[in-house]
């Protein structure tokens, strides 16, 4: 692995990490002296302050001078190698490098990023992401009274997540080995970050059964030098026990957690959570959870049972990220924007309740043209060969030239159009409040066929394998072929307003009855159902074996499509009626609470949220790293993704 280094004579060079031994700057070579504020390392980092002192050296807050226009802060961890023997010194440096390389190659929100590393003489330095927050030990000491179960459960789940990540590392699992409150940082968003990856750990040679770790939190087998992933689980249990009981295990006899039952000390702890922690603290590794993943599932199950989990997300999602998100541009319509935008040929097309369809320049939001219908436009437009298709509450499907904004043709239905159109195989398909699904030929503008349903159709049809799938307002869900013949139908208990998603022979859709359904796309059998807290009009989005959807219960869910198990959920402050969309590794979804959420889709971690001044009910659009979303506050926003 190579690091680019600017050496002192101004030339850039690419060096292998393990070959760096030349002098690195003007820092003092004296033994064991802490660097003072103002010292510059490798002509780049200016030491500001000491933020920690450890057994092997100090941790400094420094400023990276490579970013002159902003104050870029980093943490620099120092390791002063005091071993008397030259061979041991070399081994320590090699260990340092090996662990630095491993950390440089992993990427997890709960692990600080490594930016740089260098060593010289008997000192080694690691430049890390600076985590602004406090460690858990400080929080425990500074909080009067007990910490709440909500907070601790939230941290516990995140800690299991990062342990799971480390334990599943390929080719070799990474065992943290030093889980304890002082190694768990809690940042300003109340998320945890693990610090101190054993880089500053002394390498003890010649001692019987190399004991690595901190007394009190380590499991029995670690004293025998046999620390595996289950040791991390024990240490996590010990950390949680300390956090909830305020009793430091280092001050007690080892492995005596059984003598201090949690609920005896802190009555507010639920029996379910106590049971999970007790399992993690079992003396024999085989009696603990078999994996961090199993412990995480147990924690989630405990949180669900006690209802604590519903409150966990709120604590994190309602904290505003540092510095508001600024839109790239905004555009104001004369009334609410309920539907989603569409991109075509460099323009963004969006409809509004003010009866207009707008064409805006995607890059700067300038109006290109607007086209007036006679009713609210609440659907997402579709595009085909220079024409834009959109339905309106004036009962028509309007076909407008994308260049001129002038009408090309219209198609009449007998009801308001609330369903966004879908184009496939030379036809355009959409539903209407006149209870029909219309299939219109693009060339002629005439209906190829119309399918009669028992109730208005507001869901956007999904076309797959020459079948058309859609729901209607009385709960019926239909599969119709390209000739308009019914293949099968299923009846949910309440309206199916949202649009389905079909993949790999399975069709997914939500209903106002609170369920997410997975049906066999050919035959219509229900494969599984997932129950949400309340009804949903949000259309699911499928990616990577997970299906994402919102619900009126305020949550955004991620469900595994094979096992129907919830992978994560994120709670917003109001109903989630809009539908999510995914771009690269993030999920974007709006909520009635006015925010557009950007969430890492694999982990459910909130990246940022943007506050508009009204509910967001449409599906956002992401194109070329820009997110476009409309809001009931009349604005269309363009944000950096």
């Amino acid at each position: 692995m190579a690091i680019i280094r600017i050496v002192s004579n101004g030339q850039e060079a690419t060096l292998e990490t393990h070959k760096i031994t030349q002098p690195i700057g003007n820092e003092p070579e004296e033994e064991n002296v802490q660097l003072v504020s103002g010292t510059v390392l490798v002509s780049r980092y200016v030491i500001q302050d000491v933020i920690g002192v450890g057994g092997m050296g100090s941790v400094y807050l420094a400023r990276d001078q490579h970013f002159p226009n902003v104050v870029k802060l980093v943490a620099i961890k120092e390791m002063i190698n005091r071993a008397p023997d030259a061979l041991i010194r070399k081994t320590i440096v090699q260990n340092f490098e090996r662990e630095a390389n491993i950390l440089a190659s992993i990427n997890h929100p709960s692990i600080p990023r490594i930016y740089d590393y260098f060593s010289s003489g008997n000192r080694s330095y690691l430049t890390l992401e600076f985590i602004n927050g406090k460690d858990l030990e400080a929080i425990i000491n500074e909080t009067p009274g007990f910490l709440t179960e909500e907070r601790v459960l939230g941290w516990a789940i995140e800690l299991c997540d990062v342990l799971q990540f480390l334990h599943n590392h390929k080719p070799d699992p990474i065992i943290f080995r030093d889980m304890k409150p002082s190694n768990v940082m809690v940042n300003l968003q109340d998320h945890i970050v693990l610090v101190d990856f054993g880089i500053a750990k002394p390498f003890l040679v010649g001692q019987k059964g190399t004991m690595i770790g901190t007394e009190g939190y380590s499991p029995p087998e670690q004293y025998r030098g046999e620390a595996g992933p289950l040791a991390d689980i024990y240490a996590l249990g010990a950390t949680l026990h300390h956090a909830l009981s305020r009793r430091d295990p280092r001050l007690e006899p080892p492995f005596s957690f059984g003598e201090r039952p949690l609920r005896k000390i802190n009555q507010a702890v639920s029996a379910e959570l106590e049971a999970v922690i007790n399992t993690a603290l079992q003396y024999n590794p085989e009696d603990r959870f078999p994996s961090a993943e199993a412990m995480k599932e147990a924690l989630i199950a405990a949180g669900r049972k006690t209802g604590v989990l519903n409150r966990v997300g709120t604590a994190t999602a309602s904290i505003q990220p540092q510095g508001g998100i600024k839109p790239l541009w905004t555009f104001q319509c004369e009334d609410e924007i309920r539907g989603g935008p569409m991109y075509y040929g460099g323009s963004i097309y969006i409809g509004s309740y003010d009866h207009n369809l707008y064409s805006l320049n995607a890059a700067d939001g300038k109006l290109i043209w607007k086209y007036a219908t006679d009713g609210g436009v609440v659907t997402r437009p579709a595009a085909f060969e220079e024409n834009i298709f959109v339905g309106s509450e004036d009962k028509l499907l309007h076909v407008v030239s994308s260049r001129t904004g002038k009408i090309v043709w219209t198609y009449y239905t007998e009801g308001r159009v609330h369903s966004s159109p879908r184009i496939a195989e030379g036809h355009i398909f959409f539903g209407s409040d006149d209870q029909r699904l219309h299939a219109v030929k693009l060339l002629s503008g005439r209906a190829a066929w119309r399918f009669e349903a028992p109730a208005p159709i507001r869901s956007t049809p999904f076309i797959a394998q020459e079948m058309v799938y859609f729901g209607c307002e009385d709960g019926d869900f239909f599969c119709v072929d390209f000739r308009g013949q019914l293949k099968w139908h299923y009846k949910a208990k309440m309206a199916v307003t949202s649009s389905p998603w079909v993949a790999d022979g399975v069709v997914y859709f939500t209903s106002l009855d609170g369920m997410l359904y997975a049906l066999d796309a050919r035959a219509g059998w229900v494969i599984w159902r997932f129950r949400m807290g309340k009804g949903s009009i949000s259309s699911p989005y499928l990616m990577d074996g997970l299906i994402f959807v919102g619900s009126a219960d305020g949550n955004i869910y991620a469900i595994d499509i094979h096992t129907a198990k919830e992978t994560w959920r994120l709670k917003t402050d109001h109903q989630v009626n809009g539908s999510p969309t995914i771009y690269k590794d993030a999920l974007y979804c709006g909520s009635v609470d006015g925010n557009l959420y950007c969430i890492e889709y694999k982990t459910g971690r909130l990246r940022w949220k943007f506050a508009s001044k009204g509910p967001i009910t449409g599906t956002p659009l992401v194109y070329d790293d820009i997110v476009y979303t409309g809001s009931v506050d009349h604005f269309l926003y363009a944000l950096l993704a």
């Binding site: 699992p173 992933p229 078999p290 040929g345 060969e385 060339l443 009846k491 790999d504």
Partner: protein, 300 residues
């Protein structure tokens, strides 16, 4: 430019718009559609065919495994979808309890599932209220109750595949296995073993070579009949197209490498001979345990 935008617009969802931008699209007449759909040898109705086999093995004196298979095909005017249920159970426990446990588990589960399907078979228009996964879960719970009553203290593995049309739903507890075998070589295990040794292997504590000879390799941390709360693995996946579904007890997979198993299946002339070769190979390798195999194919 047009084509790339269209393909971007539609690549997010599996819509049938493909590269037809420059062509005037007109719906095809019936005859042409029929002609296009006839590609290759095509079987009506779609059906599941299966073979199964059992052997006591070379070192046991009775058989504690149980297998159950049923394949239903309905052809005719109203197209119908084939249905299959395939179950392997491997019992354990002294005093003949092992064979009681596996038999009770397999029969109870199958009985439960088939009873739910009878109304649908008689009248395809009557929909099933339960979801397939809920049905599997309920059937396994029923089997758990039956086993604890009929043979208390015993245990059994249970791996059941309910295949409907193109989707298979698998309910699984223990260390019998389900595999997807590809037609031209290769395959993968669909289930994970609920054995202590597999756990250690997953955690990187031991290697797979060590796992194969570990003295505690038969210890399960989850089995039917054991423990109060049963958490089976239940998942749905598409049936291996043009390939095979293999269900087997550990009497097969613990003595033969996966590659050998796949080869014996894909090179056999029919499913019954595939099963026979698998049993023979397992016995040649020592046959330390009862061996059960079920091989399933979907003919379309």
């Amino acid at each position: 430019m047009k084509k790339s935008i269209l393909s971007w617009l539609h690549k997010k969802k599996d819509n049938s718009v493909s590269a037809h931008t420059d062509v005037n699209t007109v719906p095809l007449p019936e005859s042409q559609i029929e002609g296009l759909l006839e590609h290759g040898p095509h079987m009506e109705p779609q059906q599941f065919i299966s073979g199964c086999g059992q052997s006591i093995g070379k070192q046991r004196d009775h058989n504690e495994d149980c297998v159950f298979t049923i394949s239903i095909s309905i052809g005719g005017e109203k197209s119908s979808y084939p249905l299959g249920l395939y179950v392997v159970a491997d019992g354990m426990g002294g005093h003949q309890y092992g064979e009681i446990a596996s038999s009770v588990a397999a029969r109870t589960l199958s009985g439960y599932i088939l009873r739910r399907f009878i109304p649908y078979l008689s009248n395809p228009a009557s929909p099933m209220d339960e979801s397939i996964q809920d049905l599997m879960r309920a059937a396994i719970n029923d089997a758990q109750r039956a086993v604890t009553q009929a043979a208390p203290g015993s245990g059994t593995t249970l791996t059941a595949a309910l295949v409907l049309g193109q989707q298979m739903t698998i309910g699984h507890v223990g260390d019998s296995r389900a595999y997807a075998v590809h037609p031209y070589g290769g395959g993968e295990a669909l289930t994970r073993d609920h054995s202590l040794v597999k756990r250690l292997e997953e955690l990187g504590q031991i290697s797979s070579e060590e796992a194969a000879v570990h003295p505690q390799r038969n210890v399960l941390y989850r089995a039917l009949g054991q423990g109060e709360i049963l958490e089976p693995d239940i998942f749905t996946a598409p049936f291996p197209q043009a390939g095979y579904l293999l269900l087997c007890s550990d009497g097969l997979w613990s003595v033969l490498p996966d590659s050998t198993i796949f080869k014996l299946i894909t090179s056999a002339k029919d499913l019954q001979s595939a099963c026979q070769s698998l049993l023979d190979a397992a016995n040649d390798a020592g046959g330390p345990d009862n061996i059960s195999v079920i091989v399933v194919q979907l003919k379309t």
